[in-house]
Subunit: 341 residues, 2 copies
């Protein structure tokens, strides 16, 4: 580690002067090192083979900054990588903007930067440009990160970003259990004195997604189920495409601990945030093939078909419940868990 | 206006659910409207003719949000447009990420979004993707904005991003008076009871810069003099390229009011932030030509040659003062004015 536990961020680290320069060369260049970043221009100069690009942005305000399974840095890389991947792009380059509260630990900042660098390497993307602002004590809560990203839109012809060709009979697949991220964050907050062994599912899904897109022709739509959870992805899709969506409760993987905490607090796992789950809509005849492909990837071992598209009840999402009833799945109103990502 | 003065931002506006959806369709789509944004994918799908791109990011935490000559929204667009332009790129697409404090006025948010949309139109860029997070009261100070941007690196062969070919005798040009932005912000804060008629110089410089790059072959380097001011740009350049830089104090345009406030508070205008000033290094024989081109543009009327590069004192910047002395211009240590951009 470069910094020790007593080192702090000063306002001057955001001044653009000597301290900013030190932070950039000691910390950011050291961990993010790549030729593009080290040109030290205000804007990164890129050469991209494709004319078709995907471009996305996300700000991360997760509280706490460190949680089982990750931290805000890993989350910021995964979130932006996943948004690019589900649009049919190969993620290539990320930017990163820090807003830091005066007095924040440089030691913790270094851990976060290190974690970003490790996740970027795992996801095979480069962090090529950045910005640091420091605000006075009390003007932000510890640290916020924005990551924006550019990808090469390799799979643009599959129309997956826009769900153009979805129809009755298409199957819905998810790559594992829902709610792990949200409930991990909640228990890491310690406010409710809930103890679990849960870990956030925070992961870069581009490897898994690329496998599926390379090997199957049946993919019609993909979306990562983050804020608002699985329910929000499907409710938006049903509404936008005016199609019915049927889910089978018994097929949706939910870990016992997630279910337990949700029951205790009156939450519904369908609405809890994930950070490593992708919802895939696939042609009926390709569903098994896609499932097999997904199960071979470490992040897809628990993949399941959880429902299908219907030409009844257009615009609605419903659940065939465990006890044999039907329950309407509504859009999330209000906020279940603020600062989950 | 869509919102009235009593409308407020709730935590639910950042949930990813119904309120987020309303904010996106009512506010962001209305003001930023363009086909790419309205595809409603998580990542914008772009088609760019060039393989050479410029990519940059900036977070804006300026306080106050509204100031003479602009607001945080205009600033966020100009800042990112300018970073792209000085790298030799034609700015094309921006992302925008909001971090908003619970309870913030929706009416003010609308004014800021409107202002972003107006400045984007002026600069001929499109805002194609975005993100909104809301944090609880007290966890951020009103509103922060991140804008990242992509440009097509049209003038990449001129090497201006990297200052590769600068040498003894090259002239330094700036497009007008320094310190206007910083001192406007300072007086808008009202803490010091300073009243001025100053306006921030906040402006998108891509039009001016494109003119210069189109019409002259002599440009060797460009940088916008934001945080840390003119001094910081030149000190960094002198150090990186191990060259001497001589400035003539009498040639550097400083408004009377800026000079006055600086004297009062012990600031040096050389270090005060600008948001509409570009420093250009140009071959000696092209300097007059470039100056003429610049003066024809509304944002370049006050352009001046303020100094030149020297093969003495490598790594240093010095000022020939008004009274005939020489003063070393050092890098900024510490922070003069936090939250200036």
């Amino acid at each position: 580690m470069i910094y020790s536990e007593n080192d702090r961020v000063f306002l001057g680290h955001g001044s653009g002067g000597i301290l900013t320069g030190e932070l950039i060369s000691n910390l950011f260049f050291y961990y993010f090192k790549n030729d593009i970043l080290e040109e030290m221009t205000d804007a990164a100069r890129l050469k991209i083979k494709s004319h078709f690009l995907s471009f996305t942005t996300d700000s991360f305000v997760v509280d706490p900054l460190f949680f089982p399974g990750g931290d805000i840095g890993k989350l910021a890389v995964c979130g932006t990588v996943n948004d690019l991947a589900v649009s049919g792009a190969k993620p290539l380059y990320l930017s990163c903007g820090f807003i830091i509260e005066e007095g924040f630990s440089l030691y913790k900042l270094e851990k976060i930067v290190q974690s970003m660098s490790e996740e970027a390497e795992r996801a095979q993307v480069q962090i090529v440009t950045g910005d640091t602002k420091v605000v006075a004590k009390g003007q932000c809560d510890k640290l916020f990160i924005n990551t924006s990203g550019i990808g090469s839109l390799i799979y643009r012809n599959k129309g997956i970003g826009k769900a153009e060709n979805i129809c009755n009979g298409d199957k819905i697949i998810i790559n594992g259990s829902i709610g792990d991220h949200g409930i991990s964050i909640l228990s890491a907050r310690n406010e409710l004195n809930i103890k679990t062994n849960l870990m956030s599912d925070c992961a870069s899904l581009n490897g898994l997604i690329e496998n599926v897109l390379e090997k199957s022709e049946g993919i019609k739509f993909m979306r990562d189920a983050t804020r608002g959870g699985l329910a929000t992805v499907l409710c938006e899709l049903a509404e936008q495409k005016n199609i019915g969506i049927e889910l089978n409760e018994t097929d949706i993987p939910v870990k016992e601990e997630v279910r337990g905490v949700c029951e205790l607090l009156g939450f519904d796992p369908l609405y809890i945030a994930n950070e490593g789950k992708v919802v895939i809509i696939v042609k009926n005849e390709n569903a098994k093939e896609v499932l097999e492909i997904m199960k071979k990837h470490p992040l897809g071992k628990e993949s399941r078909i959880i429902g299908e598209l219907k030409d009844i009840n257009p615009g609605l999402v419903w659940l065939n419940t465990q006890i044999g009833g039907k329950r309407l799945v509504d859009k999330l109103s209000g906020e279940q868990l603020p600062r989950i990502c």
